[in-house]
């Protein structure tokens, strides 16, 4: 499936957001996700089905002042 | 805080008394050397301890007055347009129970009186009425203001408490300042002093300056009638009221008036007379606490007192005063005024007296350019 993740085109095999997160080897507990501009609550990662050309933002906390 | 009342409640009478009695010389000195004073510092300057350091406080008050106002003193004159009064304030010459002839000037007569004051050179006018909201209604006040506004750079009102809408209406007609005397900030004493009439409502009066500020009034003044409560009580509450208004309505010029109760028609026994030393201490404490507020001194005070208070903080004085209604341009007139005048100086005499102590009298301070076209036409 073709996805735009954090502005970059990627082709990844997955059905749900939860599957994508584990395919990318990310820690879901540390992550916030936006699919096509809408924030997805962490508990809904498993039910969120992705489709071709979805635009995703995956963000996390980094050091800052 | 959404109202001054909330703040005042945090300063019950016992707290004020306890703080005032605990003040040391060091606390007074410290208050005098701060850039900005807290309410507790203000109370320190009102304390018996501070009374022993009047000259040091005077130096500070003088320096602050010069810093914020320079050598300028604003002049104004009052115009009493009605002494019809429905209240029975126990200390007042207009008390409804005093059997005296009452006069209520028609808008035409009020305008004729105002014209005479204008011709004498006055440009700042203060309109006063008794508490008779039906007869001296907001609409009546509006009508008077409409007629006289073209003649004056500033028209103020010192009348009963109005609603925010009524203040807004008068602002639209050209009123730029209002003064509200709470008389006393002690609710129980207030209720006893004002037994009947609309003035009986303490809270409605207490919140009037805030309503005026909300309504767009350019200057809002407060004051208590000195002599009704122990010294530190109403003096502190008055300063606190101005302080609260200044913080919450930074776009409004906040002013203070400092009337001391004086003999009148009737028989009211003054319980807590304020002597000259305490009176001066109060004016100076106000100046130190509220460096930017104007302080108005009326002709209740003598010429000597007024002249000496100018370097210490007073920035507004009246001239050519009569506290009786009518008699200038009209036959209609009341025989007695609201209070006994002790300084009878005319406008030219006041200007000369102010010059003699090294100050400049300001006859016309500021004028709203949007309201001035009619004024130039009449000048």
């Amino acid at each position: 499936m073709h996805l735009v993740i954090n502005g970059q085109d990627q082709d990844i095999t997955c059905t749900t957001l939860a599957e994508l997160v584990s395919a990318l080897k990310l820690d879901a507990q540390r992550l916030v996700a936006e699919v096509n501009g809408t924030i997805v609550a962490r508990e809904n990662f498993g039910q969120t089905v992705l489709k071709d050309n979805d635009r995703l933002e995956l963000v996390h906390f980094v050091g800052g002042g | 805080m959404s109202s001054f009342h909330d703040l005042l409640m945090t300063w019950p009478a016992e707290r004020r008394r306890a703080v005032v009695e605990s003040i040391s010389t060091d606390q007074v000195q410290r208050a005098l050397h701060k850039d900005s004073l807290s309410p507790t510092d203000f109370l320190a300057l009102l304390s018996p301890c501070a009374a022993e350091h009047l000259e040091a406080i005077a130096q500070r008050a003088h320096a602050l007055t010069l810093q914020y106002f320079g050598h300028a003193v604003n002049l104004f004159t009052p115009l009493y347009i009605s002494d019809v009064c429905t209240t029975q304030c126990r200390y007042c010459g207009f008390n409804a129970r005093n059997q005296q002839k009452r006069t209520h000037l028609s808008p035409e007569a009020a305008a004729a009186e105002a014209k005479l004051l204008h011709d004498q050179g006055h440009r700042h006018l203060l309109l006063l009425t008794g508490d008779a909201p039906k007869l001296s209604s907001p609409a009546y006040l509006g009508e008077v203001v409409e007629r006289i506004k073209p003649l004056f750079a500033s028209v103020g009102i010192e009348v009963y408490a109005l609603t925010e809408e009524e203040y807004a209406m008068l602002v639209a007609k050209g009123v730029d300042s209002m003064t509200m005397f709470q008389e006393t900030y002690d609710p129980a004493l207030y209720a006893w002093l004002h037994p009947v009439g609309p003035k009986h409502d303490y809270r409605f009066r207490l919140d009037a300056p805030q309503r005026a500020a909300k309504a767009g009034m350019r200057s809002v003044g407060v004051g208590a009638l000195l002599g009704l409560t122990p010294f530190e009580q109403d003096t502190f509450a008055t300063g606190l009221h101005a302080w609260w208004l200044e913080r919450n309505y930074p776009g409004v010029d906040i002013g203070l008036s400092i009337p001391r109760i004086c003999p009148h028609e009737g028989s009211f026994e003054v319980q807590h007379a304020v002597d000259d030393r305490h009176f001066v201490q109060y004016v100076m404490a106000l100046r130190c606490f509220l460096p930017r507020c104007s302080i108005t001194c009326s002709t209740r005070e003598s010429a000597v007192m007024r002249d000496h208070l100018i370097p210490l903080g007073v920035t507004r004085v009246s001239a050519g005063v009569s506290t009786a209604v009518g008699g200038r341009a009209t036959q209609e007139a009341s025989p007695t005024g609201q209070f006994e005048i002790t300084d009878h100086r005319s406008l030219p005499e006041m200007i000369a007296a102010i010059r003699a102590i090294g100050y400049q009298a300001v006859i016309k301070d500021w004028e709203d350019p949007t309201a001035s076209s009619a004024a130039t036409a009449c000048a």
Partner: protein
């Protein structure tokens, strides 16, 4: 009576907030937080997979997280970042930081007010980072800000309390906590801000850029505590020679 800072219904004992940016290694952060005694720690939000590793592994879960909206150039972007941060499940505090000027990194007061109004209505506890401007501060308070966070000097400069006079005016006029943020470079400067009556200080670069950040965190902790204690103690007066006894007394007429 315990001296606590109450912010957004949370009671804080520590008045030093620390940031987590610019460390030589993020692994220093737990020790820095411990040495600073901070109960509020700021973090930023970034896309995963970019240069930076996540910082959460290094932040003890006993502290309150204060996500900032750094990177936002408009109110809209700040609002989006705040909502994302909230979705991370770390509470509803947010430090609004809107910077469109990349040269001086000064905060945009107008955009900050707009973002504050939207987020306060959504229930966020909003801590806006601003220039010490009284009008902006008043607008922020009417927009629902829980405090104001004026800068002491341009961010990251360690130049100290350059805006002292303006911060003094905020302290005099405002009824909400004033938290001095950005530019404090030395503990003595944080101490001075606290002596003046600041509710707290936020320090990042000064600690992160020290030779020994852990020791510097401890120094800031002590300085902030000392300044607060001095403020509460009520400093004595500074002798002023201009107020010597006058030759012609102003109150002579009362004799």
């Amino acid at each position: 009576m315990e001296d606590a800072l109450i912010l957004g219904a949370i009671t804080l004992k520590s008045r030093l907030f620390v940031g987590t940016g610019k460390y030589a290694a993020d692994s220093l952060i737990p020790e820095v937080i411990a040495a600073s005694g901070a109960q509020v720690v700021t973090v930023a939000l970034r896309r995963v997979g970019m240069q930076q590793e996540g910082v959460m592994d290094h932040i003890p879960d006993t502290v309150r997280l204060l996500p900032n909206t750094s990177g936002a150039r408009t109110a809209e972007e700040a609002v989006r970042l705040a909502r994302l941060a909230k979705a991370a499940g770390c509470g509803d505090w947010v430090k609004i930081e809107v910077i469109a000027d990349t040269r001086h990194l000064l905060p945009d007061g107008y955009e900050t007010c707009k973002a504050t109004e939207i987020l306060a209505k959504e229930g966020f506890t909003v801590l806006p980072y601003v220039n010490p401007d009284l009008y902006v501060a008043r607008s922020l308070i009417s927009a629902g800000a829980a405090c104001v966070m004026p800068l002491a000097a341009p961010i990251g400069t360690n130049r100290g309390l350059q805006t002292r006079e303006m911060i003094g005016i905020l302290l005099e006029e405002l009824d909400v906590p004033v938290i001095v943020d950005a530019g404090l470079g030395r503990p003595s400067q944080a101490c001075e801000a606290m002596e003046m009556g600041a509710a707290a200080c936020l320090v990042n670069t000064a600690i992160a850029s020290a030779d020994d950040p852990v020791a510097m965190a401890k120094a800031f902790k002590l300085a902030v505590e000392a300044g607060r204690a001095a403020y509460l103690a009520g400093p004595g007066r500074v002798q002023d020679t201009t107020l010597a006894e006058a030759s012609s007394p102003l109150t002579g007429f009362l004799q």
